[in-house]
Symmetry: C2
Subunit: 282 residues, 2 copies
């Protein structure tokens, strides 16, 4: 492989995945990945432009950012590109009224209005008499009943529209690997004989909107993520460079993936930032 | 299309799908499809050999047959080819200990021991320290937690083995269309990057074992089912003829399926039996 100086030459902007790069989600708000709080701070003090680019679709951006701030991260809602707002724009533009197969927010003794989950992102969306389905990382809300409701909505439509917020296979929580939205998207695709429209990584439109927000061209940008297909492969197909961190859902076999080869593999975000501050923008 | 006399010439044996052909399952044991009770009786009084060939994997054969008998059908356990017993044979032969992602039987006020569901078919199988996953039509037991358990078992294995009892997309209950095991099989395939082994229709071994049980060759047999792909396409690939009934999960678009063309479409089992008694075995 070429030396880092060559691989990172001319980088002006950095897209950062969140889950598995900044922190591992889980009970009690999850835990920061060692060195990541300082790495984000150093990156933001540098001349490099930074944008957070996540497929998080279980929490609203406000909740996600709040959780990260409590872990010590310097991050605001305005710096985050996430799929739910992008999906809302599509729904409004196309006059679509979704059945929402999404996470129902924190339940139990806490008030739903305090922790409404991703549902709050769809507050302004008409969900009466649905003419499409939006599927997100619904976690425990992926019950048979909810999946069957979504399936029945789709089968009643002449031209079924299924919008999926990302298509990740799984992610890592502090307690272990967890099924993401992708497997459930595939289930509905097979059941109905249709193809979903993916909003989020690895959709090129999604990466482009993140780059636009920081005014950086694809060839001047590097994506840092833990997902060899969604983060690394997706970014590269947009003309960006991409590094995979060996944290989060990373598995050793990723370094020998049959289709995707990262521009570099690093132990964690801290190492990636070391390398970027040393070699980028030269 | 050729006249029925030509299409049904030389038929000596009939394989009958159960759900959607004999009855629609649902609350209170489901309902017989009009004319089917008499049609089965007439078929069994004829010289044609009859075998029931089902992908039912939510109930045990004993429960299924009991339910059908209560609806008036002349059927015994020994006449039914079903995927759970076939899967048990594979598990024993290959020394596999499954995590069972299957229906948990009737719950609530009824004793589990009276209605144990398909789980009773696996009574003799060692499920400790699992080294594979068996997935069936689990219905409400397809919770996120159970799916994630199956996923985690597979991800821990060096060579993950997923055995699926059928791969149907959906079936029809009296209350509407319901997701079958196939979509959930696809979900785990995608999550783990693997391919499931399907036991049941449309697997050729499964059709062959049903034919063997009645001593009829494939070219002398006709399959009658409501599933254009699993029943009709599967049987035809084994060298059988196949009729689709316009009951159960049948949809008008099935008659213009891009890949599968039945040897005939009939309104229901009663019409199929009329035609068979008139034209077969000549």
């Amino acid at each position: 492989m070429a030396p880092w100086g060559k691989r990172l030459a001319g980088v002006r902007g950095v897209l950062l995945d969140i889950s598995g790069v900044l922190y591992d989600s889980g009970a009690g708000g999850g835990t920061a990945i060692a060195g990541s709080v300082e790495a984000v701070a150093r990156l933001k003090r540098s001349r490099l432009k930074v944008r957070f680019c996540t497929n998080e679709s279980q929490k609203s951006r406000a909740e996600l950012v709040g959780q990260l701030q409590r872990l010590g991260f310097d991050i605001s809602e305005q710096e985050v590109t996430a799929p739910a707002p992008a999906a809302c724009q599509i729904l409004k533009e196309q006059g679509l009224r979704p059945y929402l197969l999404i996470h129902d927010g924190l339940r139990g003794t806490l008030s739903l209005s305090l922790f409404p989950g991703v549902r709050s992102e769809f507050d302004q969306i008409d969900t009466s008499n649905p003419n499409c389905v939006v599927i997100a990382d619904a976690g425990e809300s992926f019950s048979y009943q909810n999946m069957n409701n979504a399936f029945q909505v789709l089968m009643e439509l002449e031209k079924p529209v299924l919008i999926s917020l990302g298509k990740g296979r799984y992610y890592k929580e502090t307690s272990g690997l967890m099924l993401d939205v992708g497997p459930y998207m595939k289930a509905l695709e097979y059941a109905c004989g249709i193809k979903a429209e993916v909003v989020g990584k690895p959709s090129p439109e999604f990466f482009k909107s993140a780059l636009q927000a920081i005014g950086v061209e694809a060839h001047q940008a590097v994506m840092i993520g833990d997902d060899i297909v969604g983060d690394v492969g997706g970014a590269q197909r947009c003309g960006m460079r991409a590094l995979q961190v060996r944290t989060g859902k990373f598995r050793p076999s990723d370094e020998h993936h049959p289709e995707v080869k990262a521009d570099g593999y690093v132990d964690n975000l801290a190492e990636a930032v070391d390398l970027l501050l040393q070699h980028a923008d030269k």
